[in-house]
């Protein structure tokens, strides 16, 4: 299953995607984070804003993903993990984070990124380290937004980040619940 997703991801990246130099992406993201830090000063708030941006992106990106990959529904959350890492991340960022630490009940997993285009050549100022800025927090929002559109409510958050001096960069993804097919807005 893993192998077929890897092949799919590689194929989409190679043949179905318009590519651009990652520098523009990296620099734009860095400049956005810098602006948010200026605007909010409080790093917890910056984390929130990045997550929110990611959420909004995720809700739109999923359509692009589904259209290009042509994949159907995942059988379980483990499959979701493979799909996200081998096809999703590959298609958009040309990276394939490792899926690790799957919980016994299969409702949680980690993504370990050995590269991160958002953070190339980035160094955090001391204050950001002290006050817990999760620089790439937009990714957590993207995961939350995109998975919500396919009926999964998840919690995604950074556990460690090499930018903060940790050994690795790890995002934890927890399935809260499957969502029923949406009823028109207004119901809650």
């Amino acid at each position: 299953m893993t192998k077929q997703y890897k092949t799919l991801g590689d194929d989409i990246w190679k043949n179905k995607v318009e590519k651009i130099n990652a520098e523009l992406f990296t620099l734009t993201y860095g400049s956005i984070v810098a602006q948010l830090v200026k605007d909010y000063e409080d790093f917890t708030e910056v984390n929130k804003q990045l997550e929110k941006m990611g959420y909004n992106i995720g809700t739109r990106l999923i359509e692009d993903f589904l259209a290009r990959s042509g994949v159907g529904r995942c059988q379980d959350f483990r499959e979701t993990a493979e799909m996200v890492s081998k096809v999703g991340f590959k298609m958009f960022l040309n990276i394939t984070p490792a899926v690790t630490n799957i919980s016994a009940d299969g409702r949680e997993f980690s993504l370990v990124l050995d590269e991160n285009p958002l953070a190339e050549c980035v160094e955090l100022p001391d204050q950001a380290l002290v006050d817990e800025l999760w620089y790439s927090n937009i990714l957590c929002g993207v995961l939350r937004g995109s998975l919500e559109m396919v009926q999964m409510q998840v919690d995604a958050f950074f556990v460690t980040d090499t930018l903060r001096g940790d050994d690795m960069t790890e995002i934890r993804v927890k399935l809260i619940r499957y969502l029923e097919e949406e009823v028109p807005a207004g119901e809650d």
Partner: protein, 199 residues
């Protein structure tokens, strides 16, 4: 030419588009948040909180809120431009004059950012350069109704970021400038660069 360059890292172009589109909305949000904090959130130009669009209804000159958004987006672009030129022109010789720089922008920079060159460059040879792009890449992938006044108003904030990029590039090359963009008929747009006269 530099030898043994590391392979160029690439991402999906739509990743850049998703990011820059959301960036515009995020900056509008920061202005709204400021307004709420300062209790000035009755500004009608910010749009009503429940309208779902999360953006100003109408951009017009002299509108304080949108000017603040303009400032932020332009600054974000400026920082990108400053650092970008270091990466693109690493191997370049020094530019001979301002026109040389602008031509570089029209060719290499445009290629890097938009995968095409500027379609037309005009100058009055007195510090004003007009760059015309008949098919601005970041517009061609947005849904829009060709030349409706509403479409034009909607996309205007998306031009502020690239204006900043250009200004940042020039600034890092020692050139002070003002850059404004205009679009009247999507997906074409023009960027006007005014280079300050040196003493």
């Amino acid at each position: 030419m530099a030898s043994n360059q590391a392979p160029v890292k690439l991402v999906n172009e739509s990743a850049v588009e998703f990011l820059t589109t959301e960036m515009v909305e995020a900056m509008i949000r920061t202005i709204k948040d400021d307004a709420i904090r300062l209790g000035t959130d009755k500004d009608p130009s910010l749009g009503s909180p429940n309208d779902g669009t999360g953006g100003p209804k109408d951009y017009s000159e002299g509108d304080e809120a949108m000017e603040a958004v303009y400032y932020k987006l332009e600054m974000i672009g400026f920082r990108v431009g400053e650092r970008l030129i270091e990466k693109i022109s690493k191997d370049r010789m020094r530019f001979s004059d301002n026109l040389d720089v602008v031509k570089f922008v029209c060719k290499e920079v445009w290629m890097f950012l938009f995968k095409k060159q500027v379609d037309n460059l005009k100058t009055n040879h007195r510090g004003v350069y007009v760059l015309q792009d008949n098919s601005f890449r970041w517009f061609t992938r947005m849904a829009h109704d060709q030349s409706s006044a509403e479409s034009v108003k909607k996309v205007t904030p998306y031009l502020w970021f690239p204006c900043g990029i250009l200004r940042g590039i020039l600034s890092n090359l020692g050139i002070a400038s003002v850059v404004v963009a205009e679009t009247s008929s999507l997906p074409a747009c023009t960027f006007q660069i005014k280079i300050a006269k040196t003493a």
